[in-house]
């Protein structure tokens, strides 16, 4: 075995052996380095790209290709399984005139607003409560509030179907709201509120975890300093807690909005496919119906891209409003 002069540094014989094992021609390369310097340089240039290539190849196959082909698809319409027809912007024009699309867009927006004004404040409230010193059994409560998110949406929908039932359901039997029975899932006005309430039950605990993490990152000295200055609890909440939570709030709001606009399984099961009168149909449900039930893949692709634009626009506006792009 050839031996390389050990210049007294830390590499042992074994280490050198490994080096040879990995790069057996290392010495030859060094000898011919001048001759092959061009190749060597090329190789150095190419190597990083090769290292990152697996990601890009997978991305291209599983994300890039479907994205581009769905964009192309949105300018076509299927005719059966084997042929398609170019319709230009026909699908987009149809979409604008499609009352069920507008209805599903409104339902989805309604749910998103419900999430924003109901679910996230509840999540924040729970987080503040479970971060307070006087609450006992925090770990148990945190787990308890978090647990609903572990239940599959389908089961949640089936359970809430029983709870919201007009005559036999728990809500109408236990709490007579507004002095009369509410047809939660039978009255077009109450279907989305029922979905929102179910969403609160399922997701508030999940978002609570993010707020809790944010709360625990706020420096205690700030509160102490405020207390010294005579601030009450509410003032410290408004002037310390909320501003310090801004990045977390921005994250939770944006992620919840994206999730809300992609809502599918919960209303799909809860309303048996959007009934009555499409009052529970969301955009993604309508996309699914068109793509898989009506075999209108072009139209479904169009809905998908319109949804993408809506989500992107809303996310950017929210991030702007919440000051995420602001230089600190």
């Amino acid at each position: 075995m050839r031996k390389i002069k050990n210049d007294g540094k830390k590499c042992s014989d074994y280490c050198l052996f490994r080096f040879y094992f990995l790069y057996p021609k290392w010495e030859d390369w060094m000898k011919t380095a001048t001759v092959k310097s061009r190749y060597w340089h090329q190789q150095q240039k190419i190597a990083p790209y090769l290292f990152i290539a697996p990601f890009y190849i997978l991305f291209a196959i599983f994300m890039g290709y479907p994205l581009i082909s769905s964009l192309i698809m949105s300018f076509f319409e299927m005719r059966g399984f084997q042929s398609r027809i170019f319709v230009g912007f026909g699908n987009f024009a149809d979409l604008l005139r499609d009352p069920i699309f507008w209805k599903s867009l409104w339902n989805t927006t309604y749910f998103a607003l419900g999430t924003l004004v109901l679910q996230l404040p509840i999540a924040l409230f729970l987080a503040v409560l479970l971060n307070a010193k006087f609450v006992k059994g925090k770990n148990f409560l945190r787990l308890a509030f978090f647990t609903p998110v572990l239940v599959a949406g389908v089961f949640v929908a089936i359970i809430f179907n029983l709870i919201f039932d007009q005559r036999a359901g728990m809500i109408n039997n236990e709490f007579v709201l507004f002095g009369k029975e509410i047809g939660w899932l039978n009255d077009t006005r109450f279907v989305m509120p029922a979905v929102i309430l179910t969403g609160v039950w399922q997701w508030a605990g999940y978002n609570m975890i993010f707020f809790l993490a944010g709360l625990q990152g706020i420096r205690q000295e700030l509160y102490e300093a405020a207390a010294v200055d005579g601030a009450n609890w509410w003032q410290s909440f408004i002037h310390i807690t909320l501003p310090s939570l801004r990045p977390v709030i921005a994250f939770v709001v944006v992620v919840s909005m994206i999730g809300s606009f992609q809502l599918f399984d919960l209303p799909f099961i809860l309303t048996n496919g959007g009934n009555p009168s499409d009052s529970g149909t969301t955009i993604v449900m309508y996309l699914y119906k068109n793509g898989f039930q009506f075999m209108r893949l072009g139209y479904a692709a169009t809905i998908g891209w319109v949804l993408f634009v809506i989500i992107a626009a809303i996310s950017i506006v929210q991030l702007k409003l919440l000051g995420i792009f602001r230089e600190e």
Binding site: R18, F21, R79, N161, L185, G273, Q293
Partner: protein, 452 residues
């Protein structure tokens, strides 16, 4: 033995080393050639009850045909979407597949020659099966003169009722012959029992949010959404009259209650039945099977009569739901697939077993002689329900299939709800519904003509 490598000295560390090894192992499995066994037949189903039935009986088929290797897969509710994807991508479709009646329409879109199922009519005619099966039951699985599937069932509908509670209201249900008789009886039986001003028991439960009950009444009258040639007829006089009648059961006569929950098979609906709030329901044979398995504690409380007719001597049944079995054009072995298909659908022992487990009457007339259909049914207080179903079987109305059924049914659900909640009159909802569906169809036609 001295081995220069250990996990720690791998240049990128232990994690990547493990990943690399796993990667190489899985590559081996992916690229290793599959073992050559006998002829393979892949068989997809979506209903767990069907899966259990076939799974239990496949060993018999395998013993008769040892060279065929059957792979039976239950994909549940996702099966139709999987089949659609397989047809679209021309990859991975099964040899034989069961398709549900409301889902088959979408598979018939486009040029008739491009439909992914084999036309079974020649085989059925050559082997003499056609006359042995109930003819009208081929309509849901046929389009433009081709037959893409063999019916699994007939699904005749009867009126299940609570004999005890109707008797308590002074009504003898066996005397009911027409819907007018039923309305009179229903008015007596729909009552506020405790005098608190709310009605405690309704004569019938009907689905006001989806097409099931209204469409059943429509079929009973020999009408439908589409005609055999594909014409939309949901706005004809019979359809409007039937919807007006359906709405009147809720609003004018006040003898019907909307389904509890989302459909008749919802736990809330079963709960209402057990509480005696529902006195009758239009039930196909499979629904009876569902009741037996979901609310066994109600055994002995139900009885069945023929559906009330629209006029004296009229048809006293209809049909709801259904499944077909078909061979896909992707099958490499349609002959073997055909053998398996006959085994699962035409074998009398198997069909007897099917009735025993699911209460489903087969469309094969030869099978009806079996003793099991003559036996008293304990769930219905000893009534011979099998005989009743078979008596009704020959009168099953046709239910014409159409590629636009999914779109039509989706809009029909809304129309029914709007009519029952009196947002619009039956005539208005059905006229605008027919208009919408015709527009959808015309638009596609126009585009296709432009292409040619």
């Amino acid at each position: 033995m001295y081995f220069p490598y250990d996990f720690e000295s791998f240049p990128l560390g232990k994690g990547p080393m493990v990943m690399l090894v796993l990667f190489l192992i899985s590559c081996f499995f992916i690229f290793a050639p599959a073992e050559e066994e006998g002829e393979k037949i892949e068989f997809w189903v979506f209903a767990p009850t069907h899966y259990n039935e076939y799974q239990a009986r496949l060993p018999i088929f395998q013993a008769q045909n040892p060279e065929i290797d059957v792979k039976l897969i239950n994909y549940g509710n996702a099966m139709h979407d999987k089949l659609l994807t397989a047809f679209l991508s021309d990859f991975g479709a099964p040899d034989i597949v069961e398709v549900e009646i409301t889902s088959i329409g979408r598979f018939l879109k486009g040029a008739i020659d491009e439909v992914g199922f084999v036309d079974l009519r020649p085989r059925l005619e050559n082997e003499g099966w056609m006359d042995k099966l109930v003819q009208s039951r081929f309509t849901p699985w046929s389009y433009k003169g081709r037959t893409y599937g063999i019916p699994h069932d007939l699904h005749p509908v009867v009126l299940l009722y609570r004999d005890d509670l109707f008797k308590a209201a002074g009504v003898e249900m066996t005397e009911i012959e027409t819907w007018n008789d039923f309305i009179d009886a229903g008015k007596k039986a729909t009552r506020d029992l405790d005098g608190d001003g709310t009605i405690d028991q309704y004569a019938i439960v009907l689905d006001n949010k989806s097409d099931s009950d209204y469409f059943n009444l429509l079929l009973q009258r020999g009408a439908g959404f589409f005609e055999a040639d594909g014409n939309v007829v949901i706005d004809n006089e019979i359809a409007i009259d039937t919807l007006a009648f359906f709405v009147s059961l809720f609003n004018e006569h006040e003898i019907a209650t909307p389904v509890y929950g989302t459909w008749h098979g919802d736990p809330s609906n079963y709960a209402a039945m057990q509480d005696g709030q529902i006195l009758s329901i239009l039930a196909p044979d499979w629904y009876l099977g569902l009741l037996k398995s979901q609310v066994p504690q109600m055994a002995g409380k139900w009885k069945a009569i023929r559906m009330p007719a629209w006029e004296q001597g009229g048809r006293r049944t209809t049909t709801r739901g259904g499944t077909m079995i078909g061979i896909t054009k992707h099958s490499k072995n349609p002959e073997l697939a055909w053998e398996l298909l006959k085994f699962t659908y035409f074998d009398t022992d198997g069909l007897t077993n099917r009735y025993e487990t699911t209460s489903i009457i087969p469309p094969l007339k030869d099978a009806w002689d079996a003793q099991i259909y003559k036996e008293p049914d304990e769930y219905l207080g000893g009534q011979r329900i099998g005989e009743l179903f078979i008596e009704l079987a020959s009168d099953i109305p046709p239910r014409y299939q159409n590629p636009y059924w999914s779109e039509a049914a989706d809009l029909l659900n809304d129309a029914i709800f709007n009519a029952v909640t009196e947002k619009q009159t039956p005539k208005e909802v059905l006229t605008s519904l027919a208009e919408k569906v015709r527009t959808i169809i015309a638009k596609d036609q126009e585009r296709w003509e432009k292409m040619q």
